[in-house]
């Protein structure tokens, strides 16, 4: 391709670094996946060995399927994550649009107030949140989790998105106004498509902590019907005995949906980057 700029040594060094990093990043995931298909003995005897005819076992997955309502946990996690992400993106983007687009009294103050949430961890307010949920009768509902996660994700979403929305050309929005588009049409049809890469970033940043969270499900929704996957998997971890087969199988299954969501969002990220590059 570019012979003049192509140095084989540099290329090898770059690839070596990338491969090393990939190996380190994938190692724990691989260990989990590989061991979830082995017998308990084999897991402890040779944790790094691939399963063979003797050590292969699906007992972990069988336990997971039998014990508890694993698909329900799965569904709960999915509902909570997707609904929270949707609300974070919708309200975050709307607030960001208002802050970046309109001049009104207290604009800067409002921006600072919303950004404050980034610095104060929401878990500090757990007791108050729990009291609130008890008073409103939302304990043991998925709505409780969705509300908390939305509140937790909004500050960063508003902060990142308003920064990106400031970069959307004023002329473009004004052209839309002259063409008779309503403020909502301008927001949904002109501005949102242009900040799609930022939306994907916000979605990815928020998705993983919500999916993995143990704290709020344990406190706000520990009931059988509203258990999330992370909470549900805890039944296999005991104080004295841990069913490692089941834990590893549950973890392996839990990776899948996040992976799918991540692939969807990261495609948006890449598309956003290339669409800017060819302009």
């Amino acid at each position: 391709m570019h012979k003049a700029r192509h140095n084989p040594l540099n290329s090898i060094a770059a690839h070596a670094a990338l491969l090393t990093w990939t190996a380190i990043a994938l190692f724990p995931v691989t260990v989990i996946l590989v061991n979830s298909f082995k017998t308990r003995k084999a897991i402890f005897r040779e944790p790094l060995a691939l399963p063979d005819a003797e050590s292969f076992s699906m007992v972990g997955y069988q336990t997971v399927m039998k014990q508890g309502d694993f698909f329900l946990y799965f569904q709960n996690s999915m509902i909570v994550t997707v609904a929270s992400l949707f609300l974070i993106l919708l309200f975050g983007a709307m607030a960001a649009f208002a802050l970046s687009e309109y001049r009104f009294r207290g604009n800067t103050l409002m921006g600072l107030y919303l950004a404050l949430g980034i610095m104060i961890p929401i878990r500090i307010g757990t007791v108050a949140i729990l009291e609130l949920m008890v008073d409103t009768g939302l304990v043991n509902t998925l709505a409780a989790l969705i509300l908390v996660y939305t509140a937790q994700g909004l500050p960063l979403a508003v902060f990142i998105l308003s920064e990106f929305m400031r970069q959307v050309s004023d002329d473009l929005k004004n052209a839309g106004r002259i063409d008779g588009m309503s403020e909502y049409a301008i927001f949904f049809r002109l501005v949102l498509p242009l900040v799609r890469p930022a939306m994907a970033t916000v979605a990815v940043f928020n998705m993983i902590p919500i999916w993995n969270d143990l704290w709020f499900p344990l406190i706000l929704a520990p009931g059988e019907a509203t258990k999330t996957l992370t909470l549900g998997s805890q039944v296999f971890i005991g104080q004295f005995v841990t069913d490692w087969n089941a834990v590893l199988s549950a973890l392996s299954l839990a990776i899948l949906p996040v992976l799918v969501l991540y692939v969807i969002f990261s495609r948006q990220l890449i598309r956003g980057i290339t669409s800017g590059a060819v302009k």
Partner: protein, 332 residues
């Protein structure tokens, strides 16, 4: 009929007064150009006319209708932006159709209008392309097409040529002038480029610090400027202002256009040539007098002057203008 009427328009952002008591009447079919240095309020005035900014006080009427409180889409205007502002997710056809679709026009009417605009601007080969697949000049033509299809009472142009290169700027300028003739529509055009102002305008509005300094045809402003600011702003290279006393003229300053100066054996102005610009058709000299005043001289044709040369300059007294200390024109 008047296309646009501005009455005592004021605009402030917080405590900063951007527009101060603007009054202007634009006749049907007129091509009006707003010029002025950056920050003079010309773009703000255009945005006030478009309805993108509210007036702080005063009235705006378009086509005889008071539109002071009307949203931009219902004012009967179309606007062409400096940055083109095309919708990136729509193709050329979609860009032109959007405004009409929003207004609920019939599909047949939309197709007809787009066909007309496409023909006028030779955009046929690009109808299905996205803005990102077009060059700067093509994008600006699409932006103009988007304005034409709306059949507005008033066209607004916000520095539409500043992002184009010199050759394309000239071609697009000619195209805009041709469109104005063919459509016979009223147009308001904001620019800081006085070549555009001089060549396109029926009347030029010169603005400074949010006030109208003078309104008039290009030649009126060139020949008969109301004050020192307009005299210095219109014409390139700009007018020389010399102390009137030593030249035996009334007032504080004497304004002499570079093209009315000539090199002579004996003359009232003497100085050293410090710079020579040879443009082929013209030669520009920068001459510094013993009193440290810089004089620009525009000579037609090619002349053989060198840097460091001592020369004398004479000028046409009938065409020189006198100004008082406050910059006001003194008429004799």
């Amino acid at each position: 009929m008047t296309a646009l009427l501005l009455e005592n328009v004021h605009k402030s952002f917080g405590t900063v007064q951007v527009l101060k008591d603007i009054g202007l009447e634009v006749a049907d079919g007129e091509f009006i150009v707003f010029v002025g240095p950056s920050g003079c309020g010309k773009s703000t005035l255009l945005r006030v006319i478009a309805g993108l900014e509210d007036v702080s006080a005063g009235r705006v009427s378009i086509g005889g209708r008071d539109v002071t409180a009307t949203p931009p889409a219902k004012r009967g205007i179309a606007m062409v932006f400096q940055s083109y502002a095309l919708y990136p997710h729509l193709d050329v056809e979609g860009n032109m159709a959007l405004g009409l679709k929003q207004a609920g026009e019939d599909r047949k009417v939309i197709a007809e209008r787009i066909a007309m605009a496409t023909r006028m601007l030779s955009l046929e080969p690009y109808l299905k392309r996205r803005p990102s697949e077009l060059s700067g000049g093509q994008r600006q033509r699409v932006a103009i097409g988007r304005a034409i299809v709306r059949k507005p009472d008033l066209f607004l142009f916000d520095e539409p040529l500043s992002n184009l290169d010199a050759a394309l700027r000239m071609a697009t300028r000619v195209e805009i002038a041709r469109l104005h003739r063919e459509l016979g529509a009223s147009m308001i055009y904001v620019t800081h480029d006085q070549t555009e102002a001089m060549t396109l305008a029926n009347r030029i509005v010169v603005l400074r610090d949010g006030r109208i300094e003078q309104v008039g045809s290009p030649m009126e402003l060139y020949n008969d400027p109301a004050n020192r600011f307009v005299a210095g702003f219109i014409g390139a290279p700009s007018m020389n202002f010399l102390k009137a006393g030593p030249l035996g003229a009334p007032g504080a300053e004497l304004g002499i256009r570079p093209e009315t100066l000539r090199v002579a054996a004996e003359g009232p102005i003497r100085g050293t040539v410090t710079h020579v610009e040879r443009l082929g058709s013209d030669t520009n000299l920068l001459v510094v007098t013993p009193t440290e005043e810089t004089v620009t001289v525009r000579l037609f044709g090619q002349h053989d002057h060198r840097v460091g040369e001592e020369i004398a300059l004479d000028f046409d007294r009938a065409r020189a203008l006198s100004f008082d200390a406050g910059g006001k024109r003194l008429r004799h």
